[in-house]
C-alpha cells in the first residue's frame, strides 16, 4: 500500500507515523503538506496526532478547512482508506467524516499513559486479524479525548459494528476504571458506516517498535495491510 501522512501546522506525530510505516513496515510512504492538493496516488491516508493550528478554537476545528481536506473528503467518498489518530480523529469528527465529537477529558487534565483497548468488531480491515479477547497495550496522550455522541448515533454505531476500539483492563474486560477520559461506552475509536474511515484516540504508532518494548500497535497495521481491498 502507498501511504500518505498529512502534515498540518502543529502536527507532531507525523514523523512517528512515517517511521512506523516506512522503516518498520516497509511501506511506501509520503508526507502530504496541508497546502497541497495532490494526494500523489496514495491508497491510504493518515491524519496524525498533534496540535494542528495550536488547537485554537477547538481541537481539529481549523485543520478541517485546510486546502488538502477537500481531496481527503473525495478520497474517503471514493472508499479510500483514511485513519485519524488522536488529533487526526478530532479533525475527522470536526469534518463530519466520522460521527460524534471529542470533548475535554472528564478530569479536565491532559493525560499520557499506556492504556488497554480491545476491538469490538472484526468486520474492518484494520481489526480483522486482531483477536477481540486480547487487550492491546496502546498509549494515549490527549486533553480532549472524551468521545461523545447522541443516543441515536451510539445505537447506530453499535448496530453497524462501528465501535472499533473500547477501553478495557489488562484482562480485556470492560471496566469503568479503565476509562481514562470519561468517553461514552468506553469508546476509544470508531469507523464510518462504510468502514473505510477510522478514528482512534490511542496511538498505535507509539506501540510499534521492539526497541520500546511494545509492539501491540503493529497488529493493527499488519491487519490493515493484509486485508485492505479483500472485502
Amino acid at each position: 500500500m502507498k501511504f500518505g501522512v498529512v502534515v498540518f501546522p502543529g502536527s507532531n506525530c507525523d514523523e512517528d507515523m512515517v517511521y512506523v510505516l516506512r522503516d518498520k513496515l516497509k511501506q511506501e510512504t509520503v508526507k502530504l503538506w496541508h497546502k497541497d492538493t495532490d494526494l500523489q496516488g496514495c491508497d491510504a491516508l493518515v491524519l496524525p496526532g498533534g496540535f494542528s493550528y495550536g488547537d485554537y478554537l477547538r481541537s481539529g476545528a481549523i485543520a478541517r478547512f485546510s486546502p488538502i481536506m477537500e481531496k481527503v473528503n473525495e478520497h474517503a467518498a471514493k472508499g479510500g482508506f483514511l485513519l485519524g489518530v488522536c488529533n487526526g480523529f478530532q479533525i475527522l469528527c470536526e469534518a463530519g467524516l466520522l460521527p460524534g465529537a471529542l470533548l475535554h477529558n472528564s478530569h479536565r487534565k491532559f493525560v499520557c499513559k499506556n492504556v488497554y483497548i480491545k476491538t469490538g468488531t472484526n468486520e474492518t480491515a484494520l481489526t480483522r486479524d486482531v483477536r477481540p479477547e486480547k487487550a492491546l497495550k496502546i498509549p494515549i496522550a490527549h486533553g480532549e479525548g472524551r468521545y461523545y455522541a447522541d443516543e441515536k448515533t451510539i445505537t447506530a454505531l453499535k448496530k453497524n459494528n462501528q465501535i472499533i476500539f473500547s477501553y478495557c483492563n489488562e484482562n480485556a474486560e470492560s471496566a469503568e476504571e479503565a476509562n481514562p477520559n470519561g468517553s461514552l461506552e468506553n469508546i476509544a475509536g470508531v469507523c464510518n458506516a462504510a468502514k473505510n474511515v477510522f478514528g482512534m484516540m490511542p496511538h498505535p504508532e507509539r506501540a510499534a517498535d521492539a526497541e520500546l518494548f511494545n509492539e501491540d500497535g503493529l497488529l493493527l497495521f499488519h491487519s490493515l495491510i493484509a486485508n485492505w481491498g479483500k472485502n
Binding site: N12, C13, Y56, F110, C112, A141, G143, R206, E211, F213
Partner: protein, 743 residues
C-alpha cells in the same frame, strides 16, 4: 550623540530603580564618556543584571571542569553545550530556571521556561528530542502550593506537549523553604549532525539582520532585572515582567529554523530570551566582533506606539535573530513564508563595535557591544562568604538522639506516602512522555530516562538530580552527592556518564551565608565532575530565590546529566523480574540517618549533617555496577536514594507486583539500615544461575557488597516479619499525591 529632541537624562535614582549599583552607573558613564539616556541605561541594566551577566558567580563558575574528550562546544561558547556522541552526531543539552515568573504566574512562567530552553537547543541547529524538569514546591498541603503546582505542571504540559517533544524524566520535591519561591528548572536535549550546527555570531559588514517568529509585545519587559531581585509582596505588581508563551508558534519556529539552516544562508542565529533584542544583538555582535545598525521601527509589534526601550527589552517569546549572508535573503524569506511566520529585516551588520539602535531617523541608543556582555565589559564581583551558624550546630547531631521506632510499619506507611517519595504520576501523566517514539523507559523503567537514537546501536541516558536538603546540610558534600547520584542513575540504567549541565538556584548572593552555600556547592561539583570525567557544559545561575519574609530556599544546584549507552542492549531496568531471584546490595550500609526523609519528616529533626559520602567509594560502586551490567549478570539495578533501602526495594517491586524477603544487618540500627540515606549503594537482583558469577565479579571489583535476600511474590518480609502486601504499599504510593491535590 545627537538627540533630535530634548530628553532629561536619567539620574542615579533611575539607575537604582532599574537594579543598577551606584558604581555600575559610574562605570557606564565612563564607558560612554557621557551620561547614558534612559534607553541606554535600560540596556545596561538588563545586560548587567545577574541573569545575563553572571557578575556574582562567574569567578567561581570558571573553576568548574569544562573540557572532556567528547566536547564539541565548551561551556559558554554557545547557547548550550555540545557533546560528541559518535555516529556523526552531536548532542546539545542545557537546563535553565524560570523560578521568579513561576512564583508570580505559575502557568505562563513554567510554559515560557520550557519554550526558552528548547529555543536554546534549536537555535544551534539541533532538533530537541527530549525534555526533563526539576520542580520544587512548598508544603503540598497548602492551598498556595497547590495553586502554584497545578499551574506549573499545566504550563509545562501544555507547552511541551504541543511543541511535540517528550518529557522523559524529572524530579519533584516539597519543602516549606519553597513556599513562596518555587523552583522550576527545565532541561532540553537535542541532536544535530556534526558540522550542521549554527553559531550565535554576527559578522560580514553589510549582511542583513532579520527578526523572525512572533511579533514583539510589551510582555516581559525588564524580566531579567525582575529575576535578579528578591520576591516581595509587591512582586505581583511586576506581572507585565512575566512573558506569555505560544507553543504553536514555537513548533512552527522550530521547523522553519531547522529548514532555514539547510539553505546555507545563515551566518549566525540566536534566540530571544532574557533581554530580547538587546541581548541577542549585543551577544552576537560581541562574539563576531562586529557592530550592528538596528531599525526598531521595522520590528513587527503587537501593539502600536511601543517605545524604543520597550521594543529593545521585550521578552516576547518565540522569536529569533538571524544574520543572513547578503544576497540570500529570498531563500530565508521563502521558508518563513511557508510556515506563515514573520521574517523582517531590522538591521545590518557594520564594521566596528557599535550597536546603534534607530527609531525612524532618530538614533535612540549607541553603545559598544563588547561593554555589555559577559566576558567583555560586564562587571565581575568577588563576593564575601561566611559559614552560617546552623552548619556547626548540625554537626552536633548523633543518631542516639533519635529513638528507634516501636512500630516500623508506621514509618513505612509514612515514607511510602510522603510526597517526596510517593509516585509523581499525577504530575508526569500530564506530560506527553512518548511523542517522538524514543522513550525506552515507558515500559522498562530505569533510574535514568533512556532515549533511543533511532537507526543506531546507541541510546542516551538522561537524568536531573539534586537533593537540596543534603546541599543545605553541607553544600560541598551535598553537591558532590547530586553529581554522584546523577552518574549513579545513568550507570544503573546501563549507561556511561558523559557531561553535565547545571542550574544553580540560590538565595541572595549579597548574603555571605548564601554565598558560602554557593561556593561550597561549586567546590563539591568540581570534585565530583572531575572524578566522573563529566565536564560542565553550561547551564544557568538563579540567585535571589528567597522572599523578604521567609529567607532563602535550600541551596539547589540541580544537575542535569547526559550519559550514553554504547549498546542499547545494556539498558537495565530498576524492576525485579522473577520470583526467587537473589537480591544483592552493592556498597555498604552505615549507621547513619543524617538528612534522611525519615529523620527530617518522621522525627522532625530538621538540622542534621549530610549523609555519609565518600567519592572514592562511590566511584568504585559505579565501576562495579557497570561491570556486572556489561557482563549481563543482573536482572535489575536501582540506586538507594530518598527513603533509603526500604523505598528502593519497594520501587523495584512495584512494576511486576513482586515482593521481597530480606534480613537486616545486625551491626547497625534497623532504622538506619532500612531508612538511612548513606550514599553509594545500589540494589541489584540476579538469577540463581548467575549468582556465583556476580559474586566473583564483585570480589574482583574490590567493592563492598552483601546479600540481602530474595525476590518474593507479592509480599514484604523483613527478618521473618510480615509487613504487608505489595499491592497495599503500591496503592498508597501511587495515589498519595493525587489524593492530596485533587482532594
Amino acid at each position: 550623540m545627537q538627540h533630535t529632541h530634548q530628553e532629561t537624562l536619567p539620574t542615579l535614582d533611575t539607575a537604582k530603580k532599574l537594579g543598577l549599583l551606584p558604581e555600575e552607573f559610574e562605570k557606564i558613564k565612563s564607558i560612554l564618556g557621557r551620561t547614558p539616556n534612559f534607553t541606554e541605561l535600560s540596556i545596561y541594566s538588563v545586560m548587567w543584571s545577574e541573569h545575563c551577566s553572571y557578575k556574582n558567580s562567574i569567578i567561581w563558575l570558571k573553576t568548574l571542569p569544562k573540557d572532556g574528550p567528547h566536547m564539541l562546544a565548551k561551556a559558554g561558547e554557545e547557547n548550550a553545550g555540545l557533546v560528541d556522541i559518535g555516529e556523526g552526531l552531536g548532542c546539545a543539552f542545557k537546563i535553565e530556571s524560570h523560578n521568579h515568573p513561576s512564583a508570580i504566574e505559575p502557568y505562563q512562567g513554567a510554559a515560557t521556561g520550557v519554550g526558552g530552553i528548547n529555543r536554546d537547543i534549536f537555535t544551534m541547529g539541533a532538533r530537541p528530542i527530549a525534555q526533563l524538569n526539576s520542580l520544587r514546591f512548598g508544603d503540598i498541603k497548602s492551598a498556595k502550593t497547590q495553586w502554584i503546582m497545578k499551574g506549573v505542571v499545566k504550563g509545562i504540559g501544555n507547552y511541551g506537549n504541543a511543541f511535540g517533544v517528550p518529557t522523559v524524566g524529572g524530579e519533584v520535591f516539597f519543602d516549606d523553604c519553597y513556599n513562596v519561591n518555587p523552583l522550576v528548572n527545565a532541561m532540553s536535549v537535542g541532536i544535530v549532525k556534526k558540522g550542521e550546527t549554527v553559531s550565535a555570531t554576527s559578522y560580514g559588514a553589510g549582511n542583513p539582520v532579520f527578526i523572525v517568529g512572533s511579533a514583539t509585545g510589551k510582555d516581559g519587559i525588564h524580566g531579567a532585572t525582575f529575576a535578579s531581585a528578591d520576591i516581595t509582596e509587591n512582586s505581583a505588581d511586576d506581572l507585565p515582567a512575566v512573558q506569555v508563551g505560544d507553543p504553536f508558534q514555537e513548533k512552527l519556529l522550530l521547523e522553519a529554523t531547522l529548514e532555514v539552516i539547510k539553505t546555507g544562508a545563515v551566518i549566525g542565529m540566536q534566540d530571544m530570551g532574557a533581554a530580547g533584542i538587546t541581548c541577542s544583538t549585543s551577544e552576537m555582535s560581541a562574539k563576531g566582533q562586529h557592530g550592528m545598525d538596528i531599525w526598531l521601527h521595522k520590528v513587527p509589534t503587537r501593539q502600536q506606539g511601543m517605545k524604543p526601550f520597550e521594543i529593545l527589552l521585550s521578552e516576547s517569546q518565540e522569536r529569533m535573530l538571524i544574520v543572513v549572508e547578503k544576497g540570500k535573503e529570498e531563500d530565508v524569506k521563502k521558508v518563513f513564508e511557508k510556515w506563515d511566520l514573520n521574517c523582517e529585516q531590522i538591521g545590518i551588520v557594520t564594521t566596528g563595535d557599535r550597536l546603534k539602535y534607530y527609531m525612524f531617523d532618530e538614533l535612540v541608543a549607541d553603545v559598544p557591544a563588547e561593554t555589555l556582555v559577559l566576558g567583555g565589559g560586564a562587571p565581575v564581583y568577588k563576593r564575601e562568604y561566611k559559614e552560617p551558624a546552623y552548619y556547626a550546630e548540625a554537626k552536633k547531631f548523633r543518631i542516639e538522639m533519635v529513638q528507634e521506632p516501636d512500630n516500623y510499619k508506621t514509618v513505612m506507611n509514612h515514607l511510602i506516602a510522603h510526597p517526596n517519595i510517593a509516585s509523581k504520576r499525577w504530575v508526569y501523566n500530564q506530560y506527553d512522555s512518548m511523542v517522538g517514539t524514543i522513550n525506552q523507559s515507558t515500559n522498562q523503567p530505569s533510574d535514568a530516562a533512556i532515549v533511543n537514537i533511532k537507526n543506531t546501536k546507541k541510546s542516551l541516558a538522561l537524568t536531573v538530580d539534586c537533593n537540596s536538603r543534603y546541599v543545605n546540610a553541607d553544600p560541598e558534600i551535598g553537591c558532590a552527592i547530586a553529581v554522584s547520584e546523577a552518574a549513579r542513575n545513568i550507570v544503573c540504567s546501563g549507561g556511561e556518564p558523559s557531561a553535565i549541565t547545571n542550574c544553580l538556584n540560590f538565595g541572595n548572593p549579597y548574603n555571605p551565608e548564601v554565598y558560602w552555600q554557593f561556593v561550597g556547592s561549586i567546590k563539591g561539583m568540581s570534585a565530583a565532575c572531575t572524578k566522573f570525567r563529566t565536564p560542565v557544559t553550561g547551564g544557568n545561575v538563579s540567585f535571589y530565590n528567597q522572599s523578604s519574609f521567609e529567607g532563602p530556599v535550600f541551596p539547589t544546584p540541580t544537575i542535569g546529566m547526559l550519559g550514553l549507552l554504547q549498546d542499547k542492549k545494556n539498558q537495565t531496568s530498576l524492576s525485579f523480574k522473577n520470583e526467587g531471584d537473589c537480591i544483592y546490595l552493592i556498597g555498604d550500609c552505615k549507621n547513619d540517618i543524617n538528612s534522611s526523609e525519615y529523620v527530617y519528616s518522621f522525627h522532625k529533626v530538621k538540622n542534621t549533617p549530610a549523609p555519609y559520602f565518600n567519592l572514592e567509594e562511590e566511584y568504585l560502586v559505579q565501576q562495579a555496577v557497570k561491570a556486572v551490567i556489561k557482563k549481563q549478570l543482573i536482572e535489575s539495578a536501582h540506586d538507594c536514594s530518598d527513603g533509603g533501602l526500604f523505598v528502593c526495594l519497594m520501587e523495584s517491586s512495584f512494576q511486576h507486583r513482586l515482593g521481597f524477603e530480606i534480613a537486616c544487618d545486625k551491626h547497625i540500627r534497623k532504622d538506619a539500615f532500612l531508612f538511612g540515606e548513606s550514599q553509594s549503594r545500589v540494589v541489584v537482583s540476579v538469577k540463581k544461575e548467575n549468582e556465583i558469577a556476580l559474586v566473583d565479579e564483585l570480589k574482583k571489583q574490590e567493592v563492598k557488597f552483601s546479600k540481602l535476600g530474595f525476590v518474593k511474590s507479592k509480599e514484604v518480609l523483613i527478618d521473618g516479619d510480615f509487613y504487608g502486601a505489595i499491592e497495599e504499599f503500591k496503592n498508597s504510593y501511587d495515589t498519595s499525591i493525587e489524593k492530596t491535590v485533587e482532594g
